[in-house]
């Protein structure tokens, strides 16, 4: 189970490989010993570009580029509701945002 866990941790860093170009040069995965187990690094930090300055639009505007069936992670605070498309997050995996003054990381 522990080995499965470490492999799963590595998987969070390699998801982009599934959609990457077949011609992309991928570095040899490096390994790190962590808590008595081996962790594999298959991507360099930043290879999946996180969003640091997200912009938001109204529903009226979003209708132009969102599909009704598009999965969302919705974060609500008081009267503020924000939707983050997981199809878009497939390419970024992390959105750094502020909600009602609280810094959050929306991850996928």
């Amino acid at each position: 189970m522990a080995k499965r866990l470490l492999i799963t941790i590595a998987l969070t860093a390699i998801a982009a490989l599934l959609a990457s170009s077949a011609n992309a040069q991928q570095p040899e995965p490096r390994m790190t010993e962590l808590r008595g187990h081996t962790m594999y690094w298959l991507l360099q930090p930043g290879e999946i570009p996180a969003i640091f300055e997200p912009e938001f639009v109204s529903i009226e505007t979003a209708d132009s580029f969102y599909y009704d069936e598009e999965p969302l992670i919705a974060v609500v605070s008081g009267d503020v509701a924000k939707g983050y498309s997981t199809w878009h997050l497939d390419h970024h995996e992390v959105v750094n945002d502020l909600v009602d003054g609280t810094a959050i990381a929306v991850t996928w």
Binding site: L5, I9, L34, F56, S64, F65, K82, I104
Partner: protein, 204 residues
Amino acid sequence: MQDRETESLWPQPWGECIMGRSEGKKLSEYPAIHTSYGEFKKLFPQGQLLKKPEKGEAGSPYDGYFADPDKLGMFGRVNDYEKLKGKDKVFGIRVGVQQVAVSEAYLVEHGFALIPSLPDPVIVTYDTTGKTAAAFAFEGRQRGMIMGLKPQGDRLVGPGRRAVWSARTGKLIEGNGDDLPVAPTMSAYWFAWLSFFPSTELIY
């Protein structure tokens, strides 16, 4: 995840730093609702959407991976899980040291799941049409599920119908009371959730 300033590593499911200067530090989970854009528009007509560069084609670049029930990650893991198949979707909740996963199939069949084992009782609701999953915890002042909160369609009805809430957002619709607090939940494949939380309770 990697924190740029400290170059430390944080697996998302744990929200805890496992390597680097921040090792041992923990992030707090933030409540979220899992839904679709079409449903979001109805629930939150004044809502805002993360801007995208273009509309593009519908779907995810990982649709092939999502559609393959036997492809579990990248290392050829065998799909030999009990109770659920490895790629079955669950909605996971963590409270302190407790973890509970509710299978999507259970929610599709029943429309909701009660979790009385957590310190504050939690109800997970699901709408098949809008593919909306949300969890609500009941704090002491809400008197908890023991008082007989009942799901009725897209509503949650309190004892004696003295209060009614939206089963999708937790907003108070009728009567007296506070909005139901949304509980943090995580959408995951069973094999991944179980990897991170091997002692998890499962409702399926």
